[in-house]
């Protein structure tokens, strides 16, 4: 565990009300992010990773209900009033969205975006200081001062994303949540942005939660990784260790199915992630898991710590809680090709 986490999430639950029933998008998630640390949060679409990111910042739609704790600076963000929370968002907690194109105001110059942000959160700054801080942050992102007075449409996609990052960083937040920050960008620009994000801790000391579906990005940019499946974190540990020796069968399957330059065989995960309105009662991965045992159908797995890793899987224990005969192999359920994500 981290000595002094910047943010500490405990038993966070986020449920959405829908006409069909309650969607358990995030279900009892706990995690810590340390100072200057990059934590990767990976999972497939619909696993709840974006909801978790927004839940930490209290940016949930009205149809969502949340429960648990998000400890930041000795306070629980979840029980704060909206007004109080607004003081934290920006100067303390920043967010970078997926679509850089749609998050900048097309009618405002870049300069005005920065002025508005800084005036809002640091009203004591003079005009000169605002300009200096903005140009300095933009410069670190490779945006030249000559373009300070231009409009968003005059920039390329990669530059707009760098402006977005600069806009979040100009307030020097302690924690930055980046939700798929490179998904709509080309591979070279993606790599440029990732190297900027990786340098954050050196330049700004910012802790970063990097939400992505791309395992390659996690391996390149993150210290630790949390793997999310059906609203739960099923495995968490040092990125290097998790990728070298994945413990949870889902992590193993996800890594095997990733197509990289080293791929020589195609692998996929049979079946589809469960419906989060009525997920499997015990282990949520059980129907797709090749290693399933009879206990996996009966009891919800209990988190087990192995060295610096935690895993939510009966294969790794705790063995004294597995009922007699519970270790009997079941294997994967019969899944037709058509039943897939």
């Amino acid at each position: 565990m981290i000595a002094t986490p910047v943010v500490s999430v405990r038993d966070l639950r986020v449920y959405y009300g829908t006409v069909r029933g309650t969607v358990r998008a995030v279900d009892r998630v706990s995690l810590d992010i340390g100072t200057s640390e990059v934590l990767g949060l990976v999972g497939e679409s619909g696993c709840g990773k974006s909801t978790l990111g927004r839940g930490i910042l209290g940016l949930l739609p009205e149809s969502a209900a949340s429960d648990g704790e998000v400890q930041y600076g000795g306070k629980n963000l979840l029980t704060m009033s909206a007004k109080e929370l607004r003081h934290y968002r920006g100067p303390e907690l920043g967010l970078i969205f997926q679509e850089p194109m749609t998050r900048l105001n097309p009618l405002m110059r870049i300069e005005d975006h920065f002025r508005e942000t800084l005036e809002q959160h640091e009203p004591r700054l003079s005009g000169r200081e605002i300009r200096k801080r903005s140009l300095e942050t933009l410069g670190r992102m490779g945006i030249p001062p000559t373009r300070f007075r231009q409009y968003p449409h005059e920039f390329s996609g990669g530059m707009r994303q760098r402006i977005m990052i600069a806009l979040a960083l100009v307030l020097r937040p302690k924690l930055l949540i980046a939700d798929e920050p490179t998904t709509s960008l080309d591979v070279i620009v993606e790599a440029q942005i990732l190297s900027i994000l990786a340098d954050l801790r050196e330049n700004f000391g910012t802790a970063l939660l990097l939400i992505t579906h791309n395992l390659g990005i996690v391996a390149e940019a993150c210290d630790r990784v949390a793997v999310m499946y059906a609203g739960e974190i099923v495995e968490e540990g040092a990125a290097r260790d998790v990728f070298a020796e994945p413990a949870h069968p889902y992590t193993q399957a996800l890594l095997r199915s990733t197509i990289s330059l080293e791929t020589t065989d195609l692998h996929s995960i049979p079946g589809a992630p469960p419906d989060l309105i009525a997920p499997p009662p015990a282990c949520r991965f059980r129907p797709r898991c090749p290693e399933a045992m009879s206990v996996c159908e009966e009891k919800h797995p209990v988190e087990e710590r192995i060295d610096h890793r935690r895993v939510l899987c009966w294969l790794h224990g705790p063995h004294d809680q597995i009922p007699e005969g519970g270790a009997e192999k079941l294997g994967r359920e019969e899944i037709s090709v058509a039943d897939e994500a």
Binding site: D186, I188, S257, I259, S268, V337
Partner: protein, 448 residues
């Protein structure tokens, strides 16, 4: 059978593309249109030639704006070519009428990137998949139903009864893409153009769709044109790869050679940029700066030269490269320092017009002040390839005159099994660069 007017057409070639250009004109402002002036045009596809052999999978790989999608569509006749030729099974399609094309389209089909947008939400899967049969009046009634059910099972949507009456919104992303593929193959096409067929899907589903496409290739004898930005899936899927940059094929060859020994600096950069999921393998990467430039006014000479770490004298250095150089210098400076340097040059926008020589007016009325700024920039980073492109600099009264070496247009060269468009492999271009180097050194000496 079809007659083949051309002598020497390779029997194995399904699609033969020669000197193909697709240009889009940009509509300017109302005023410009009023006086009949176009704002220019975008060379989306610019002099592309290649052959697609029967049964082959050819990958068209490039970043957004490289022209890969336009190229795919031009080959299908969905976009009209501006110039050049596309022969499908020996028949020229660039000059075909819409009616002739429609008959031919039974043999060539396309799968788009977004399965959610490719299916009509108001049509059942049976209607969508059977639609081509109805449009081309191939079969109807019972026989149509039978063909639809059979095709659904071919693509893995089995049992078909379970899917026939469903709507796209009832299906997962992977299932939708299977339905889209079913619709594309129901007419038994020869050629399938797949435009980013898996990039919208989750990792765990991508492998399934690619495996399906490989199975179909074997079972139905398909030829694929696989359009993608993803070099990792292309490596697995393609027999040959063409790398596109700003409308041109900069490198084309067998997959094995492209991945093991990429020749073009752009291909090398693309391969280095792919994030590798195995952290033990990741290495620090030197990435090319910047992004794909605006296709409406591409760089002079080789389009990749402003980002290329190995560019030299004749690659096309020009005014806009100087602006980029100054701006990147300024973005790292303290504000006061920047303000001082920026004030030296009166009008920076004169660098936006692509030219190989320019006169910059110094705000101080001393051209030498601007030259001093350039000298400082050169000293800071003397290895920057830009400086190799500079032919001469001199102060003329209140102006600084800068000129660059005339660019040599890159040409396609056969290097081993690949064809590459890069001066690094062109003896003539290298010799020309050497000659210019000697010349520049000589005039510098004479200047002293």
């Amino acid at each position: 059978m079809r007659t083949r007017p051309d002598v020497g057409v390779d029997d194995d070639v399904l699609v033969s593309v020669r000197g193909l250009r697709t240009h889009y004109s940009i509509r300017g402002s109302f005023g410009q249109r009023l006086v009949g002036r176009e704002a220019g045009n975008v060379k989306a596809v610019d002099d592309v030639s290649f052959d697609l052999r029967k049964g082959e999978v050819l990958g068209l790989v490039g970043e957004s704006g490289s022209g890969k999608t336009t190229l795919g569509r031009t080959i299908l006749g969905l976009v009209r070519a501006t110039d050049g030729s596309v022969r499908f099974d020996g028949e020229e399609i660039t000059t075909m009428s819409e009616r002739e094309l429609r008959t031919l389209r039974r043999q060539m089909q396309i799968v788009f990137q977004d399965p959610h947008a490719s299916l009509n939400p108001a049509m059942t899967i049976a209607d969508s998949v059977g639609h081509p049969l109805r449009i081309h009046k191939v079969v109807s009634g019972r026989e149509l139903e039978r063909r639809v059910a059979e095709t659904l099972e071919t693509v893995g949507l089995a049992p078909a009864e379970q899917f026939l009456g469903k709507y796209p919104s009832d299906l997962s992303g992977g299932q939708k893409q299977r339905a889209v593929i079913a619709r594309a193959i129901i007419l038994n096409p020869v050629l399938l153009v797949a435009d980013e067929p898996v990039s919208m899907l989750d990792m765990s589903v991508r492998a399934k769709i690619l495996a399906l496409m490989l199975d179909l290739r074997r079972e139905l004898d398909l030829t694929y044109l696989y359009i993608t930005h993803d070099l990792a899936t292309a490596k697995f899927f393609c027999d040959r790869i063409a790398i596109l940059y700003l409308g041109r094929i900069v490198e084309i060859g067998p997959s094995a050679s492209i991945y093991e020994d990429p020749k073009h600096p752009y291909t090398q950069a693309l391969l280095r940029a792919i994030p590798e999921p195995d952290p033990r393998r990741s290495v620090p990467r030197d990435l090319p700066r910047g992004e794909v430039p605006d296709a409406a006014s591409p760089p002079l000479g080789c389009s990749f030269h402003p980002r290329c770490p190995r560019a030299f004298e004749v690659c096309g250095w020009e005014t806009r490269d100087l602006r980029d150089l100054l701006e990147s210098r300024w973005s790292h400076q303290e504000e006061e320092e920047y303000a001082r340097e920026r004030a030296l040059i009166e009008n920076l926008d004169s660098l936006d017009i692509p030219r190989v020589d320019v006169r910059l007016r110094a705000a101080s009325r001393r051209g030498a002040d601007v030259l001093e700024l350039l000298e400082a920039a050169r000293e800071e980073d003397p290895d920057e390839p830009f400086w190799r492109g500079v032919r001469s600099t001199r102060a003329v009264d209140d102006q600084a005159e800068i000129s660059w070496h005339e660019p040599v247009e890159p040409r396609a060269l056969d290097v081993g099994p690949v064809r590459v468009e890069c001066h690094l492999y062109d003896e003539d271009a290298l010799a020309e660069a050497e000659r210019r180097r000697v010349e520049t050194a000589g005039s510098e000496k004479a200047g002293v």
